[in-house]
């Protein structure tokens, strides 16, 4: 045999191929959507992280300010005589 090729049972193969196309359409649909879901989760995480970061930043500022105020109040209340007129 010099030439290759020659599908032995061409009709059956043709039918199987056709069925395969359809099955694979379903599979790729599902897998694509799973990947989209994954993408969404990744992006969701990123967004959440940046929102948390900005929240954290605000809290940081507040915390430091609060600390300062606490020290000031503590300092002031330690010397009540200064405020007696």
């Amino acid at each position: 045999m010099a030439r290759a090729g020659g599908i032995t049972n061409a009709v059956n193969v043709g039918i199987a191929v056709q069925a395969d196309w359809e099955n694979r359409e379903f599979i790729s649909h599902i897998s694509l959507n799973v990947r989209r879901l994954f993408d969404f989760l990744v992006q969701f995480e990123a967004t959440t992280k940046s929102k948390l970061a900005s929240l954290n930043e605000k809290l940081d500022v507040l915390e430091r300010r609060l600390e300062l105020l606490e020290v000031q109040v503590a300092n002031a209340s330690a010397n009540p005589s200064l405020f007696a007129t």
């Binding site: 030439r3 290759a4 196309w21 879901l37 940046s50 605000k58």
Partner: protein
């Protein structure tokens, strides 16, 4: 098929996922898909379903693929092999007896490593024999099995490549034979007691031969191949395939291209060294084509820091393959290091250097990048538009998707080209170390650190950032474009098999039964006849046979791509059609010589053939993007580590860090946005270390380097940011008129840098960690601002009081830069930081670091050493003053002043104007810097200083008083000036007390200085108050009255501000749609509060008046001693104990001194003596006495009379007055000054019954009350400590 999943997923897109972070990093998230379509996930096991009798081929193919996989792992073992010998301990002499134990331990350690090498040896033997067997089986001219398929050819090439690489690596790594010889030594030591060591010894010898023979693997392969003498055919086919693929260069991505380039020289050597006619190769491939390929790529990257050169390989192999050595044309090719340096370096004349260096292409690359990103984005937009319109327009949809497909193909090709450029430039640089390096440089420094010029580094950064940004852009839209890609590929395949093949079958292949059978097989195995499920039954029926009937079969796209097996089979069948299954067929793959197929069809087949090859890359979307953007190789340097005999290189030699550093140092601020991109290289290399090389220690090293680098990076970046904002602020605060007049004002302007993008980075992806860069920067900025404030205070503490203007200016600049930075970053508030550094955070601390510094400076330097000039209203440093010892000024980076050197010098020249004196501008600075919080503290300190001084003066003055005669009368006129001066000197017999005299004068001078200082302060405060008043008056409804008093317009009603807000609130509340009426009420209440607060602030008193009152109270104690109240009630003109007498004496004393030695004592004392003395005299109520009885005044009167008489007589005038002009002039000056002081005092501190100010016991001043001018009135003033 409609899947509800889709709707659910689509619903997710309704979430708003806005992210503020800009995309300035490479793609970071990879879904690990293990293996993609390029290497089939199911090992081609579905190929058999197509019944093409390819099972033998598939089996062989899979075997080769497994071998390739194993070989790659072996290669990474070899590449990352590090010498163990260096780590082996040496025994000290005292432990020689346990030498045997050490040998045993060493042996066990080394045995583990050597077993790996033994494994490699065994593996290569089996791989070579399997490859050879495979080639022989598939290259028989009388073929019994189908194959080899194209994928099979590829697998052969890949395995061959792995073998070549292994061989190359084995040759290059010197530590392996080294370790081995150590191992052998320990073996002989250890094995003495063992039995049956012969086989082991034999094995060792084998391994030794393998390790020490260069090109042992290739030689072995050669032997295996030519055991049966018919592999030339397949080798020739392989060469033809390689050459054609390289020349076409369409479907190749750079990893494949490099494989082909690496394999080609070896293939040529193998073919030409066969027993048969070695020239037959050149009948199929002209030798010029080979030489062209070798010449175009003189260096080929093999491993990150190892490269191959075809010329060198050919030359070296010629000694091992004697037959090949006759190929002189191939052997005369120059190796890269042999290229003449002049030719290689002067790029205009030479093509190699031009070709390899990125900077020569960066312009074109930039244009490509810009063009591509724009077109890609527009294609994406079209696609999104299509999705949103729910398009039924088939043509449009097909066009948009096809366009997207084209863009993706183009993107892959661009990425492949760019990344290949980086690989090739690296290989080129490794092959040509920098020539003019000092011998102290290590080899690695020569090839990397000093081998890239600054421009080349910048070019590299730019290219890397293009690769990464395009990569992440494509990565992001992966799931969006997937359907469009599948659909387009599906359409292409279906169009080919259903339309093109159909027409071919009808026309050219009608007569050729065997060929047409192959074509119809192609249709069978890939046609999707029912792609459109919506088609009606009849249409479906017709379309099923449509291939034969209608010319252009219309089919509907399905979003499914062909499988790898389908592509594999299609490629095989096309190849079969073209080649006729005959390996010996002359000509190329699609060469037309002797073929029965017409050119047109051949062209179509060829195009489709190569398209099929590229489909696989597209189906492997994310894997392809990851491979193409992987730049991790830039970090690895295992080969150089070994040859340099060090454990690791310093980070200055590390290419990724060099790039980061180059961006930070670069004057080109546009590059700064790419500063995070080189850090991605670390991500890539860490990934490679773990996944590809599978070596934990490499990852640890990378991690350590990244930790180190990132710290340096952040600190350098912060420095850049701080300097930038500082110089921006400084240039904005420069005097505009100065800038206008300046010749080169441009050097003071600051180039804008887009930092806000970096300041938004809350998630920097680094080695799988997320780093909040923004918070790190914020942290450091908070710190550096504090450090800067601290530095400015430190600096001020080393300078005198005159520097206060400069300090204020610098603080202003700092404040302004803080303001500018706060737009992008939330740093701590400036006033808070300032308070913190001033150490007056506490609510009850009223002094501050600055205030106490000013005070101590005044005490120790200003008051003793500065002299007043009444005319200019300035204090200047006396030239006679003793210099005060101060710590030297701390030095700091320019960023702690104004940013850049130019701005520093500009601002310094302004500061220098104020550095020599103390006057109004300084007072303004002090008032602004201290504010209402610390200023009272300073005033109080100064007033206490006055009262202390007076207390100190008291005994001294008593001492002076004692030496005066009991009574001093008026000076007689008859003595003339000369006589009077003598008489005065007789009265003042203070010769013994000159030190006391000087001290008293100094004390008086300091009091005067403080009082004058208060006067300046008063002026400044008045000015500020007036300004405030002007601003608030209209709101408070205040009008100036005719007599300077303030009138209120509405006597009973509210002030304008209150009534305005009240009426607004009322109007808003009555309006029905008002959302929150309470807030308006609150607002009007706040207006009332503001009204009260501002009104209370209106009548601030005068600091000077307060100071005078305070001084007079302080003098009160000594009133009895210094001014004896006449018992008679009349003025006693002879009394000598009063203060004015003392001052008179002192004044004439120092006037004389200053007359004698030219202005000597005046330079020491200045005008403030007059201020001090006159104020005390005035406050003691002795002004009239002084004016009547002062010695110098009397002498002046006498001189006047004398002068008048001289004018009358015209006789010996000059004689009488001679020698006294200078003194008289000084006296006149003193009189003028004294009069000035007195008149000022009269105005500010009137002693008549008038409105004046008083001070309550609590210290609060009461302004403008009426009190009687008695001495006892001052008793109400508080004293220190009371």
């Amino acid at each position: 098929m409609a899947v509800p999943v889709e709707e659910a997923i689509a619903a997710l897109s309704t979430f708003s996922l806005d992210d503020e972070q800009p995309e300035v990093q490479g793609p970071g998230v990879w879904v690990s898909t293990e293996r993609g379509a390029t290497d089939s996930p199911i090992e081609y096991s579905d190929v058999s379903a197509y019944r093409l009798s390819l099972s033998e081929d598939t089996k062989a193919l899979n075997q080769l693929n497994i071998l390739t996989q194993e070989g790659k792992e072996m290669a990474s073992v070899l590449y990352t092999y590090r010498s163990c010998v260096k780590a082996l301990p040496q025994l000290p002499d005292s432990m020689k007896q346990s030498q045997a134990d050490l040998y045993l331990e060493t042996y066990q350690v080394l045995d583990l490593e050597m077993s790996r090498l033994r494994e490699i040896q065994r593996w290569q033997a089996s791989a070579s024999s399997k490859l050879a067997a495979d080639m022989q089986r598939f290259s028989r001219p009388e073929r019994r099995i189908n194959g080899p398929t194209i994928s099979h050819l590829w697998s052969m090439l890949k395995l061959l490549d792995v073998l070549v690489q292994l061989d190359h690596l084995k040759n290059a790594k010197a530590s392996i034979p080294n370790d081995f010889s150590w191992y052998k030594r320990t073996f002989t030591q250890v094995s003495g007691q063992w039995q049956d060591t012969d086989s082991m010894r034999e094995e060792l010898d084998d391994l030794q031969i393998f390790l020490s023979t260069r090109w042992a693997i290739l030689l072995n392969l050669h032997v295996e191949m030519f055991r049966v003498n018919n592999v030339e055919d397949i080798l020739q086919v392989l060469i033809v395939f390689v050459v054609e693929s390289l020349e076409l260069d369409f479907a190749l991505l750079f990893p494949e291209r490099h494989i082909l380039l690496r394999v080609l020289p070896v293939l040529v050597v193998l073919v030409t060294s066969s027993e048969k006619d070695s020239e037959s190769l050149y009948k199929r491939v002209k030798i010029n084509r080979l030489i062209n390929i070798f010449k175009n790529d003189v260096v080929i990257p093999a491993f990150p820091d190892l490269h191959l050169s075809p010329a060198a390989i050919l030359k070296e192999l010629s000694t091992y393959f004697p037959k090949f050595s006759s190929q002189t044309r191939l052997l005369t090719l120059p190796a890269p290091h042999e290229l003449p340096p002049r030719e290689a370096q002067e790029y205009p004349s030479n093509c190699f250097c031009r070709h390899y260096l990125i900077i020569n292409h960066i312009g074109a690359i930039r244009a490509e990048h810009d063009d591509f990103t724009i077109r890609f984005a527009s294609a994406m937009n079209q696609l999104l538009l299509l999705k949103s319109t729910d398009g039924s327009d088939v043509d449009w949809s097909k066009e948009v998707k096809g366009n997207m497909y084209d863009m993706i193909v183009e993107g892959f090709q661009l990425l492949s080209r760019w990344t290949a450029r980086i690989w090739e430039q690296c290989a080129w640089k490794f092959s040509r170390p920098c020539k003019d390096a000092s011998p102290s440089f290590s080899d690695y420094e020569k090839v990397v650190r000093y081998n890239y010029t600054a421009e080349e580094r910048r070019g590299l950064v730019e290219l890397v950032s293009y690769i990464k940004s395009v990569g992440s852009m494509m990565q992001r839209c992966d799931t969006l474009v997937a359907e469009a890609l599948w659909e387009t590929i599906h359409a292409e395949v279906q169009d080919f098999v259903q339309n093109t093949l159909a027409s071919m079958l009808r026309t050219t292949f009608r007569k050729k039964k065997d060929l047409s059978r192959i074509l119809s097989d192609m249709r069978t195995l890939s046609a999707d006849w029912m792609a459109n499920t919506n088609k009606s039954e009849s249409e479906l029926q017709s379309s099923h046979h449509g291939g034969e009937e209608s010319r252009a079969n219309i089919f509907y796209p399905r979003a499914v791509a062909p499988t790898a097996a389908q592509v594999h089979c299609l490629q095989f069948l096309i190849y079969e059609v073209v080649s006729g299954g005959n390996l010996r067929r002359p000509g190329g793959l699609f060469g037309n010589s002797g073929s029965e197929i017409p050119v047109n069809d051949l062209k179509q087949l060829e195009t489709f053939f190569y398209k099929l090859g590229f489909f696989l890359h597209i189906l492997d979307y994310s894997v392809t993007v990851a491979t193409l953007t992987d730049l991790g190789f830039l970090w690895f340097r295992e080969f150089y580590l070994e040859s340099s005999r060090v454990i690791q290189f310093p980070i200055e030699c590390s290419l990724p860090w060099m790039l980061v550093d180059c961006v930070l140092e670069s004057p080109n601020s546009g590059l700064l946005e790419s500063v995070l991109i080189p850090l991605d290289i670390y991500n890539d290399s860490a990934q490679q270390a773990l996944v590809l090389l599978k070596q934990r220690f490499l990852y640890d090293e990378i991690e350590a380097e990244v930790d180190h680098c990132f710290d340096i990076f952040v600190s350098k970046l912060c420095e850049t940011i701080f300097t930038y904002y500082k110089s921006w602020a400084a240039s904005e605060l420069l005097d505009p008129s100065f800038l206008f007049a300046s010749d080169n004002a441009e050097k003071y302007s600051v180039q804008p840098i887009r930092l806000n993008m970096l300041l938004k980075m809350t998630r920097v992806k680094l080695l799988g960690r997320m780093i909040n860069l923004r918070s790190l920067i914020t942290e450091r900025m908070n710190k550096v601002f504090r450090e800067n404030i601290e530095f400015l205070f430190d600096r001020f503490e080393c300078q005198d009081l005159c520097a206060i203007v400069e300090v204020e200016k610098l603080l202003d600049i700092l404040k302004h830069s803080h303001e500018l930075l706060s737009r992008d970053l939330s740093v701590d508030s400036f006033s808070l930081m300032l308070n913190e550094m001033q150490e007056n955070i506490s609510l009850v601390s009223f002094s501050s670091r600055l205030a106490s510094q000013i005070w101590s400076e005044m005490q120790s330097d200003f008051l003793p050493n500065f002299i007043l000039c009444n005319t200019t209203q300035r204090f200047i440093r006396s030239s006679k003053a003793v210099p005060v010892q101060k710590p030297s000024i701390p030095s700091a980076k320019p960023s702690f002043y104004c940013g850049t050197q130019d701005l520093n010098s500009a601002h310094q020249s302004f500061a220098r104007l104020h550095s020599g004196f103390f006057g109004m501008p300084h007072m303004f600075s002090i008032v602004r810097l201290l504010g209402s919080r610390s200023l009272p503290w300073l005033i109080r300190a100064l007033l206490d200083h006055i009262s202390n001084k007076i207390t100190l003066l008291e005994p001294m003055i008593t001492g002076l008083q004692e030496s005066l005669p009991k009574s001093i009368g008026l000076l007689p006129f008859d003595g003339g000036v000369t006589g009077c001066v003598r008489l005065v000197k007789e009265h003042l017999n203070w010769e013994t007390k000159s030190a006391l005299k000087a001290e008293v004068l100094h004390g008086i001078k300091e009091i005067g200085s403080v009082l004058y200082w208060m006067g300046l302060l008063d002026i400044v405060l008045r000015e500020i108050d007036t300004k405030n008043f002007m601003q608030t008056a209209p709101w408070l409804g205040l009008l100036p009255g005719a007599d300077g008093q303030i009138l209120t317009t509405q006597d009973s009603g509210d002030s304008p501000v209150v009534s305005l807000f009240k009426s607004t609130a009322a109007a808003m509340v009555s309006y029905p749609g008002c959302p929150s009426p309470t807030s308006f009420h609150i607002m009007s209440k706040q207006a009332e509060a503001a009204d009260l607060l501002y009104k209370a602030n209106l009548n601030t008193g005068s600091v000077l008046e307060y100071a005078l009152a305070f001084t007079s109270a302080a003098l009160d104690k000594y009133c009895s001693k210094w001014s004896a109240a006449p018992k008679t009630g009349f003025i006693d003109i002879t009394i000598s104990k009063d203060f004015y007498r003392i001052y008179s004496g002192l004044q004439i004393g120092y006037l004389e001194e200053s007359a004698e030695v030219s202005s000597n004592s005046h330079e020491r004392l200045g005008d403030s003596v007059a201020w001090g003395g006159c104020t005390i005299i005035y406050l003691l109520g002795q002004q009239l006495h002084f004016e009547l009885f002062d010695f110098s005044y009397q002498i002046l009167n006498i001189a006047e009379v004398e002068a008048a008489s001289v004018i009358q007589t015209h006789k010996n005038s000059h004689f009488a007055m001679q020698g006294w002009e200078v003194l008289l002039e000084a006296m006149k000056k003193a009189r003028r000054l004294n009069n000035h002081v007195f008149s000022m005092l009269k105005a500010r501190c009137p002693l008549e019954e008038k409105t004046a100010c008083a001070i309550k016991q609590s210290g609060a001043p009461l302004h403008r009350i009426k009190f009687e001018n008695t001495v006892s009135a001052f008793e109400t003033l508080p004293q220190k400590g009371s």
